[in-house]
Every structure is written in structure tokens, then in C-alpha cells.
């Protein structure tokens, strides 16, 4: 007994019962139905392994039912089920027609049990063989998705008949996985991505791997940019998670997925053209921030357009540090160059340190390589997360220590040397160092001349390269001017005193204004007190400062203590 689903379709009840009884001893699932319409209803829900279809039936004959069945299978994306036509007539024309349109076989009634069973078995086996061969030729063994041949076979039909997007997907920085973790890990990442892609797709979508890390898909439900962005975000998020699971905590590759899409039918129905359009959109993404999706538009500007928020989110995704190890950075020659230059421009202070590790072979039990490795480990364990290390050549370590003075840096050196001493006996290994302050080339304190403008919590200085920010520290409102080495922290009250207590007055927790720049005060209908400045700008005033403003105005109008 086999559990193949066999459907017999015949309008003649006796013939139907006869066929069913013949088959039921051999097959467990035999369904007998009376019309082509019933057949289509049943096949919509179940995929049969074999259909015995009578040709002569009222309303819908066997050939019509066969045609509709094939259409249904195509729509559902199923492989065609083998069909054997049944007829009581000795009609060679019908037989010829049936075989021409694709029937597996042709059987005349009344049935001979042995012949019927043998022919059914042969037809099922042939169908299975064809299915296996087709699958072998069209399925990518590693991921289980369709391969390029499969894509070429299926996608043109979908593009010609359905609505959706033809999407080209490419893994960003996948090469680094192969280079750093080996090809086996690369294969695992591809398998994981195929799984993620399958989970993110809907019924009726078509997914293909066309080569290396390139994929092609037809998504029926992705029609708008918003949906494309959501898909890109989900794929990227899950991809990073999958890589983290595969490669562990040390995984630090900005891997992601870029998607280029062409809308069907808006961009046409030609598969070749759509592929080109999707490729152009993918190129656009790859040239930009990657890890995202773009939908092709004939207007190149439209492809570039993207809302600022998602652009910011993508850039953040690319720039952010993944799996922060909690030790100092080893950014390499190029990386440390940029850090160094940045510190020169921005930092208030920084120190640079160069260690030299040498081994006198005659006195040492450990090799030079072992000593260097051991020392680099001590460095990594001892230094702060914000420090940066470069091994400039074997045995030489250059270290950048931002935001530290010489005294603090000396402490760090002592900590490193203590750590090195504690890590074992290093007879014959000599560690030397040189510590210097880093050159700071940003503007000096003297450059800050005077405070010029006040506007809603920001204070701009006349010096074009400088700025002041207001913040709270220990529940005190503070003002800090940042300008290279210049840094001062004063309370707002001190700051106000510096400005000139007679001219400036506080109008809210975060705002002070120059009274001479006020044009008038105003009360809105809702009861908000507003200040209108001479230049037409407006701001609101906290009610509790009105008395203070009044007092100061009074002093100024009487020509008292206030002076400009």
C-alpha cells in the first residue's frame, strides 16, 4: 500500500465505483469525484500524485478540465500532476489529442486491474523522476533556493503575469567573512541568509541564488518604498544577529544586505529589462550607504531620494561599533592616522606613547614573538576603551591616550609595566618607552573674544570656530566653552555676572536676554508672555522671572547701576 493521493474523475457512477474498488487495495488515499469542476475544487486544496480523468463528461469534458487544472497548478506554483485519460471509446483521435496536450497515458474502459495499476505506477514514477531531475537542475543545493537556471525558468513568467517587485539582493562585505573566517563560515552565512530570506518572504514569492552572494527574488507583496525599506531593515537586522550567532562575540564585519528593486508592471514586464533596472537600483544602493533598498525609477533623482531618518539610521548602522570588546582599539595604520589628526583638531589634551620590546636571545627563555604577543595582550588588557594602539613594526607599539595629561599618562605607563611584570618572568626582555604630549593645533583660549548672540539655549561666539554649550552637571546649569585647549566650566550665574548683570536678564531656566534688544512685551490670548525683539524674533518668558525683569528695567530706566 502506498500513500499517494489518487483522484478518479468520472461522471459514470458504476465506472467510478469500479475504478475506486480496483485502486483501494493498492493506494490508501483514493478520491472519487463526478465532475471536472469538483476536481478543480479538490486540487485547489490538495496536490494529487495522480489523476485519472474521464474524457466524456457533461458540462466540462476531460480536456477542458485538464487545461484548467494546468492553469491552476501554474498559478499555485506547483509541479504538474500526472494525468491519465480514461474513455470507453475506441477513439484514436481523442487518444492522440490527450497525449499531445501532455497526458501521461491513456486507458480504455473497462479496466484490467493489473494494467491499470502498472500504468499508474509508471506514470507516478516518471513524474517523480522528472521532478527530481528538474529540481537537481534548477535548485541551488547549498541554500535550497532556485539557482540561476531555475530563476530563468520561473521569474520571466512571474514578471509577465504577476504584480510585485523583481529584487536583486547582494550581501555587503561578504568577502570579508570568507577572508577572515574561511569559506566554510561563508557557506554558513549564505545558508543563514537563505533561511532569513525564506522566512521574510510570503507565499507565492520566488527566491533564487544566482551566484556567490547574489540573490534574485520576486516579491508579490512589496510594492511601495515603505515596504521595501521595512524588508531591508528586517533582513539587515536578522542578518547581523545570525552572523553574531555564527561567528560569536568577536564578529566585527559590517555585513548587511543591499536590495535593488524594479516594480512590476510599472517598470515593464520584460524579465531582461526588469533585471537591468533592479541591477541599476542595486548599484545605487551599493554606491551609497548600502544595507538598504532602492526602487528603480526612470528619473535618477527619484532613486537617490530617501528620507533623512532612514538615511541616518542606515549610516548609523554602518558606522556603529559592533560587539565592542571592552579593550583599547587596534584600528590599523589608516585608522590611527585619522584618530591622531582628529585629536589634533579637537582634543583639549592627549598623550602619545611609544613602547619598544626587545629580547636579548642569550638571556631569554622566551622568543621575541612570544614576548611581543605577551606585551600586546598586557597593553590590550590595561589600556582604556578610548585608547588606540598601533604596532608600527615588530616590537614597537604606538599608543594614543586621549583626554589625559602627563601625570595621568605616567600612571597608565606604570600600570602597563606592572601588568607586564605580573604576567610572568621576562628575563632578557627589555621594555622601553617614550611619552610625549600630542600636538594640539586647535584655537587657543585667547581666540574667544566676546559673546555675541543668545538664542534658545545656544550661545554663539564671535570667534567663528568656537562654540559654547550649556548643560547640567550635579544639578547645576553649566556653560562650557570648547575650543581646543580652552575649556571652562562656570555656573550660569557666574556666566551672567561676566556678561553684565545690568543688561542681561534671565527669562527662563535656560534663557537670558539683552534687555536693550527687546522691542516690547506681549501677552497672548491664551496667557503666554512673549518678548518681541528688535529684529522681529520672539520668545516666551517664564512668569516667575517677570518681577526680576521689571526690577532690572526699573534700574535701567532710572539710569542706575546698569551699564552697557
Amino acid at each position: 500500500m502506498t500513500d499517494n493521493l489518487i483522484i478518479i474523475v468520472d461522471d459514470d457512477a458504476d465506472s467510478l465505483a469500479n475504478a475506486k474498488s480496483l485502486l483501494e487495495g493498492q493506494y490508501t488515499k483514493v478520491r472519487a469525484i463526478r465532475s471536472g469542476a469538483d476536481l478543480l475544487k479538490l486540487t485547489a486544496k490538495h496536490a494529487p500524485d495522480m489523476i485519472l480523468l474521464d474524457i466524456l463528461m457533461p458540462e466540462m469534458d476531460g480536456f477542458e478540465a485538464y487545461r484548467l487544472l494546468r492553469e491552476q497548478e501554474k498559478k499555485l506554483g506547483r509541479n504538474p500532476a500526472p494525468v491519465i485519460f480514461l474513455t470507453g471509446e475506441n477513439d484514436t483521435i481523442s487518444e492522440q489529442h490527450g497525449l499531445t496536450i501532455g497526458a501521461s497515458d491513456f486507458i480504455r474502459k473497462p479496466f484490467n486491474r493489473e494494467i491499470l495499476l502498472r500504468r499508474i505506477q509508471n506514470a507516478i514514477q516518471s513524474a517523480k523522476t522528472i521532478e527530481n531531475l528538474t529540481e537537481e537542475a534548477t535548485v541551488d543545493k547549498m541554500t535550497g533556493l532556485l539557482n540561476k537556471a531555475g530563476a530563468t525558468g520561473k521569474l520571466p513568467t512571474l514578471c509577465a503575469e504577476e504584480e510585485g517587485t523583481l529584487t536583486m539582493l547582494d550581501l555587503d562585505n561578504f568577502k570579508l567573512v570568507n577572508d577572515l573566517y574561511g569559506h566554510e563560515m561563508g557557506d554558513n552565512v549564505l545558508k543563514a541568509f537563505a533561511r532569513i530570506l525564506r522566512e521574510a518572504s510570503s507565499e507565492g514569492d520566488c527566491l533564487c541564488r544566482t551566484g556567490g552572494d547574489e540573490f534574485l527574488a520576486f516579491f508579490r507583496r512589496i510594492l511601495r518604498k515603505k515596504e521595501a525599506d521595512a524588508l531591508a531593515k528586517e533582513l539587515n537586522m536578522r542578518m547581523v544577529q545570525a552572523c553574531r550567532d555564527l561567528m560569536g562575540a568577536e564578529f566585527d564585519i559590517p555585513i548587511g544586505v543591499s536590495l535593488g528593486m524594479a516594480r512590476v508592471p510599472e517598470c515593464g514586464r520584460s524579465y531582461d529589462e526588469l533585471t537591468r533596472f533592479a541591477d541599476a537600483a542595486l548599484y545605487q544602493v551599493k554606491q551609497g550607504s548600502k544595507h538598504s533598498a532602492a526602487i528603480y525609477s526612470p528619473d535618477p533623482q527619484a532613486v537617490k531620494e530617501d528620507d533623512l531618518e532612514s538615511e541616518m539610521s542606515r549610516l548609523t548602522q554602518i558606522l556603529k561599533e559592533r560587539n565592542r570588546p571592552g579593550t583599547a582599539m587596534w584600528p590599523g595604520q589608516e585608522g590611527i592616522t585619522w584618530i591622531y589628526r582628529f585629536l589634533c583638531r579637537y582634543a583639549n589634551r592627549a598623550m602619545k606613547l611609544l613602547f619598544s620590546v626587545t629580547v636579548a636571545e642569550a638571556d631569554s627563555k622566551e622568543s621575541f614573538a612570544e614576548a611581543v604577543k605577551g606585551f600586546s595582550e598586557v597593553l590590550a588588557d590595561t589600556l582604556r576603551e578610548s585608547d588606540a594602539i598601533l604596532q608600527s613594526r615588530p616590537g614597537r607599539f604606538f599608543v594614543l591616550l586621549p583626554d589625559l595629561g602627563e601625570e595621568d599618562a605616567q600612571q597608565i605607563v606604570r600600570r602597563i609595566l606592572d601588568g607586564w611584570a605580573e604576567s610572568g618572568t621576562h628575563a632578557g626582555v627589555k621594555v622601553e618607552y617614550i611619552l610625549q604630549p600630542q600636538e594640539i593645533s586647535s584655537p587657543q583660549a585667547g581666540d574667544v573674544s566676546q559673546i555675541a548672540v543668545y538664542d534658545g539655549g545656544r550661545i554663539a561666539l564671535l570667534h567663528p570656530k568656537d562654540f559654547i554649550r550649556i548643560y547640567t552637571e550635579n544639578r547645576r546649569l553649566c556653560v562650557m566653552a570648547t575650543s581646543g585647549r580652552y575649556e571652562s566650566r562656570i555656573t550660569l550665574r557666574e556666566f551672567e555676572d561676566l556678561l553684565d548683570p545690568g543688561i542681561f536678564v534671565r527669562i527662563s531656566r535656560f534663557e537670558i536676554v539683552n534687555l536693550r534688544k527687546i522691542s516690547s512685551f506681549d501677552l497672548s490670548m491664551a496667557g503666554t508672555i512673549r518678548i518681541i525683539f528688535s529684529n522681529g524674533e520672539e520668545t516666551w518668558v517664564a512668569r516667575r522671572y517677570v518681577r526680576e525683569i521689571h526690577t532690572k528695567l526699573d534700574q535701567l530706566s532710572k539710569g542706575g547701576e546698569a551699564h552697557e
Partner: protein, 140 residues
């Protein structure tokens, strides 16, 4: 916890005590000089306390610097107005749709309109004074 929240809680606590004290006062006043302990309803006292808490705690809305007088007034109106009705319904002396209900509603709205208007006029006067001082200062 920020200052406003702290102040709201403090005032709410005081309001609760005041609400209970008023309840006790009413009990004493209605006893005709012969207070009977068993006639005190703890439920009514607590309800009065909660109402006091809402009314006083809600008054912190006037401390939000950047809010207009109208917004402060409306923000205070919401908890006190709703609180009053909920308390009335819970205690069973205020029936929705009754004459008392509508009289109270009108009284509430008129009272708050008066609060807003008086505040507005006070601030209007202060702003006028500020502008006069500003003019004087500019003349010098």
C-alpha cells in the same frame, strides 16, 4: 524625579490631609455640638482626601514655565472637575443628568473661567507695566 513631580506629590499629600480634615470639620459641624464617633464614614473621609490630593497636586500645572495661563487653568480643571464628578457618582449624591449635575457643571466652568480671566487681567496689567518701563528705559 524632577522638581515638578516632587512638588506635585508633596502638594498632593498635603491636599489629602486637608481633604480629610475638611471631612472631619463637616462631621463636627453637622453633629450639632454632640459628635458621635460611629457616624464618621471612613469611605467619605478617604474620598474627600483623594479629592483634596487631586486639587492641590494638580496645582503644580501653574508651575510649568512654558505653559500659558489658559493651559495651566485647563490642566488644573481636568483632574479637579473629573475627580469631583467621579467622587460624587461613587458616593451616590451626584446623578448624571440631574439638575444638581448641570448646576455643578455650570458652576465649575464659570469658576474656572473666572480664574483664567482674573489671571489674564493680572498679567495683562503686569505686561503693560513692563512695556512702560521699557519705554522709559529707551527714552534715556
Amino acid at each position: 524625579m524632577n522638581k515638578l513631580a516632587k512638588k506635585g506629590l508633596l502638594l498632593g499629600g498635603i491636599g489629602f490631609v486637608v481633604g480629610i480634615l475638611i471631612g472631619l470639620g463637616v462631621w463636627l459641624a453637622s453633629s450639632g455640638g454632640h459628635p458621635v464617633l460611629s457616624e464618621i464614614s471612613p469611605f467619605e473621609l478617604i474620598v474627600g482626601g483623594i479629592y483634596g490630593m487631586l486639587a492641590m497636586g494638580g496645582s503644580v500645572s501653574y508651575d510649568v514655565e512654558h505653559w500659558s495661563i489658559l493651559r495651566c487653568t485647563l490642566t488644573h480643571l481636568v483632574p479637579t472637575f473629573l475627580g469631583f464628578y467621579v467622587m460624587g457618582f461613587v458616593q451616590g449624591w451626584l446623578i448624571p443628568g440631574s439638575t444638581l449635575f448641570w448646576i455643578m457643571t455650570v458652576c465649575w466652568l464659570v469658576a474656572y473661567l473666572f480664574i483664567w480671566l482674573s489671571q489674564y487681567l493680572i498679567w495683562h496689567k503686569k505686561i503693560k507695566a513692563l512695556n512702560e518701563e521699557l519705554k522709559k528705559m529707551k527714552k534715556r
